[in-house]
Structures are given as structure tokens and as C-alpha cells.
Amino acid sequence: MSDLGVALVVWPSAAILLVTALYVFRTASMARAGLLLLASLGVEGLIFLALASEFLGALQLLMMSGEMVLMVFFMVMFMPDPGGLMGMDMTHDKRRAQAFAVAAGIALALVAVLTDWPAGTLNADAVDVRAIGFEVMGRSMFTFLFAGMTLMFTMIGGTLLAKQGGRYRVGAPSGELRDAGDEGR
């Protein structure tokens, strides 16, 4: 793609990314919040594709869709007000939280703008590329695997908590599956 073509994809995509990310926190509907997050991260995949990072872009599109749709699934399942029609407010300590968020945002933006990023282009067989490959597939792999397993156990645990009648014990299975704490009710 030409430089103009790349710019025509990247900058509008970046704008959509930021606007949809902002609206994730402006909506009370769990379905909208999850799907806006998907829009934000999916558009990021388009940026990768436009910057000729084909594998990363396609993988970002694939993984983010699955993950964000699952998140919608879990949010609607766990939230007491999934549709956002009952005026649920999940924020607290607003003033300090806002001040911290603004300060952190400015600090990160300054780091991004003021850093002296390397401008050179590397070939596929450069030493650095090989080094990254060995780093990712070698020493760091244990960390990745551990993080992945932790996430999976969290999801399975959350599902198990949700399964036994949910937080209100509505329709809890009777008999041997009911735990001992229910005897006193």
C-alpha cells in the first residue's frame, strides 16, 4: 500500500479506536460496552493490517472477536443490571479516580510522544528478529503458559460459581448438590 493509503486507513481507524474506547465507559448496557470494546480492538487489527503486519492483524481480528464476545457473555451473566436500564452505577470515589486517570493518561501520552523511537527497518533475517523469536519461544514461554492457565482457571471458577443457581440461588439444584451452608436458612 502507498503511504497515502496507509495514512487513510490508520488515522481514521485510530480516531474510531479512541472514540469507541471512550464510549465503553459512557454506556450502561453490558452488551453495548462489550461490543464497543470489540469495535475498538477490532479496528486496532485493521491498523496492524494497514501497516503490513498481516499475521498480527488477522490474529488480532480473530482473537479479539472471540474474547470480547465471551466477555459480553460473562458480563450479561454476572451483572445484576445487564441491560443498563435500572440506573446501576459501578463507579465510586469519583473525584480522585478522575484525577488519577487524567494524570496517568497525560503521563503515558508524554512517554509515547517524547520517546526517541528507532526509525530503521529490519530485514526478516536480522539478529534482532531472531533474538525476539528465541526470547518469546524460550524463557518467556513459561510466563505466558502460567498466565494462560491462570486465566483459564479463573474462567472455569467463575462459571462454576455462576452455575450453582447463581448469586441469588434461583433455581439451585436440590438434593446432594446444595451445600451445607443452606441448611440454616
Binding site: S29, A31, R32, L35, L38, G42, G45, E54, F55, G57, A58, L59, L61, L62, S65, G66, M68, V69, L70, V72, F73, V76
Partner: protein, 301 residues
């Protein structure tokens, strides 16, 4: 890729969608194409309408997202050595990535319509995604192994002598039900389930939007049948006939078999299917990746 390629892909999509609609009639014992054309005319002459209370954005964006997902998936299918929409090194990942957007589109349609049965239809499809997404993506990496590439055209080239269906039959057995579930055709028609949910996730659409949903689903069938023909049945390879003819014949055969099987199987139950999927097909797809690696090391190097 030339400037005409996008138009050619859209042409394949429209002609293919009509052919699939006609095939549906053929497997149901109604070989005449006239009802298809009449149905299109009837749908498009209806006015568009919306439910009384609904999520405006999600409801109206869903058919477009479904169509875009179907078209991108279709454009990754290699039809002949010289013709395909998008030719990238990560082609099968892009194929799976485009199909991954069918799930949010169907969920948006169901949730956006704001009716009980529609939401149930959307949610069932979310559940179905948990069953098909993992086998679909894992099997695609297994068939990429012999070609040492995720480019669909490279996977077709490596099948010049032996089709992948013979080398990796387990992968094919996992792939076909997965892609039928993505295209939500029977027996995986959980989101619409006309006999129990009365249209389900799509029950509130009418006119042009209903037409877009119907068109997108048929384009999905063309895309998944085309990709099955390309990565498992040798794609354009075949004696005597030209490359494009072989590809069209194989795609039509796969689509016809999928629709025929769908008419003869009862609709799956989502809870039983999920319990089965986590115990059998998902572990088997890990096995399929191992098998793909093994045959690559033994026969393709």
C-alpha cells in the same frame, strides 16, 4: 490483484448465494429455481420495520456486519491459481477472523431486537461459538502444516498429488460441522430456529434488512464450502477440466452435502452440544494438530 477483483468477488458472492438458495430447494425435493426469485422479490418489496422498543444501533448494524464478515471470508477463498480476493500470508487466519464476526453480528441482531425469543436466539449462538470456534481455528493450523504456510493458495498447491482429506481425515471430520455451525445452517440453526423460536434473532427484521441476513447466510455457505474444497479436496487440482470448473464443482458438492445433511438431522440442543464439544471435538482437534505435524515430518519434508 487488479481493480476489478472486488467486483469479481461480489459477483461470486451474489451468484453463489442464488445457487445455494436453489440448492436448498433441490435437497428439499423442489428443483425449480422460480420460488427463489419470487422470494427475493417478495422480501425486497416489503417495507423495513423495527420493533417498538429496541437497541437502535445494534439492531441496524447487525445485518451489515454479518454481510461484511461473509464477504471477507469469501474473499480469502482461492478459486483458481490467478483469482482470489485477498491473497495474504495469513489467509486462513483472516478467514477464521472474518467468520469470528458472525457471532457478534447474530448476538447484536438478537439483543438489539429486544424481544425474549430474539435474545434467546442470540445467546444460543454465543454458546454455540464456544463449541465450534476452537476446532475451526485449530484444524486450519493443522492443514497449514504440510504446506508450511497459512496462505490458502499454498495449501492448495501442496495437494497437487494427494488431497488433504486423505492425509488428515480427522481434521476434515472436525472442520465440516464447525463451519456448518458458523453458517448457522441446520442442524445448527440455533439463532433462528424457526420451529421453536419463530425466527429467533432475526424475527424482527423485514424488507431489505431481512434480505441482507438471508443473503449473508448464503454467502457464508459459499465461503465455507469453497474453503473446505480448497484446503481439503485439492482445490483447483483435477484432470481434464479447467481449474475454475473443478473448484466450482467441488464447492457445489460440499455445499450440497452440507445442506442435504442438515435436512436429515434434528436440530442440536445447545447444552448437550456444549457438554459434548468440550469432551470430544476440542480434545480431538489438539490431536489433529499433532497428526498434522506428524504427517508433515514424515511425508512432506
Amino acid at each position: 490483484m487488479s481493480a476489478a477483483t472486488p467486483f469479481a468477488v461480489v459477483g461470486v458472492a451474489i451468484v453463489g448465494a442464488f445457487a445455494v438458495a436453489w440448492l436448498e430447494g433441490v435437497v428439499a425435493g423442489r428443483p425449480s429455481p422460480v420460488p427463489v426469485i419470487r422470494g427475493v422479490g417478495r422480501t425486497l418489496s416489503e417495507p423495513m420495520s423495527a420493533p417498538a422498543t429496541y437497541d437502535r444501533w445494534l439492531f441496524h448494524m447487525a445485518p451489515t456486519l454479518l454481510l461484511v464478515a461473509a464477504l471477507v471470508a469469501l474473499s480469502t477463498v482461492p478459486w483458481t491459481p490467478g483469482f482470489r480476493g485477498i491473497d495474504t500470508e495469513a489467509g486462513v487466519i483472516l478467514f477464521a477472523g472474518a467468520l469470528a464476526y458472525v457471532t457478534p453480528a447474530v448476538f447484536m441482531a438478537g439483543w438489539g431486537a429486544g424481544g425474549g425469543l430474539a435474545v434467546v436466539g442470540g445467546f444460543r449462538f454465543l454458546g454455540l461459538m464456544l463449541a465450534y470456534a476452537m476446532p475451526l481455528a485449530m484444524v486450519l493450523t493443522a492443514v497449514g502444516a504440510p504446506a508450511e504456510s497459512l496462505r490458502p493458495a499454498a495449501i492448495v498447491e501442496v495437494q497437487a498429488n494427494v488431497p488433504m482429506a486423505i492425509v488428515q481425515p480427522l481434521a476434515l471430520a472436525l472442520f465440516v460441522p464447525s463451519v456448518m455451525a458458523v453458517a448457522f445452517i441446520p442442524p445448527f440453526d440455533l439463532p433462528q430456529a424457526s420451529s421453536e423460536l419463530g425466527g429467533g434473532a432475526f424475527s424482527r427484521y423485514s424488507g431489505l434488512e431481512a434480505g441482507l441476513v438471508a443473503l449473508s447466510q448464503r454467502i457464508l455457505v459459499v465461503a465455507v464450502a469453497g474453503m473446505t474444497a480448497a484446503v481439503f479436496l485439492g482445490g483447483w487440482h483435477g484432470p481434464l477440466l479447467p481449474a475454475a470448473v473443478w473448484m466450482v464443482l467441488k464447492t457445489a458438492a460440499v455445499a450440497g452435502l452440507m445442506l442435504w445433511a442438515g435436512r436429515r438431522l434434528p436440530r442440536v440442543e445447545i447444552d448437550r452440544l456444549l457438554a459434548f464439544a468440550w469432551k470430544v471435538p476440542i480434545p480431538l482437534s489438539i490431536l489433529a494438530i499433532g497428526w498434522g505435524g506428524l504427517v508433515t515430518l514424515l511425508f512432506y519434508r
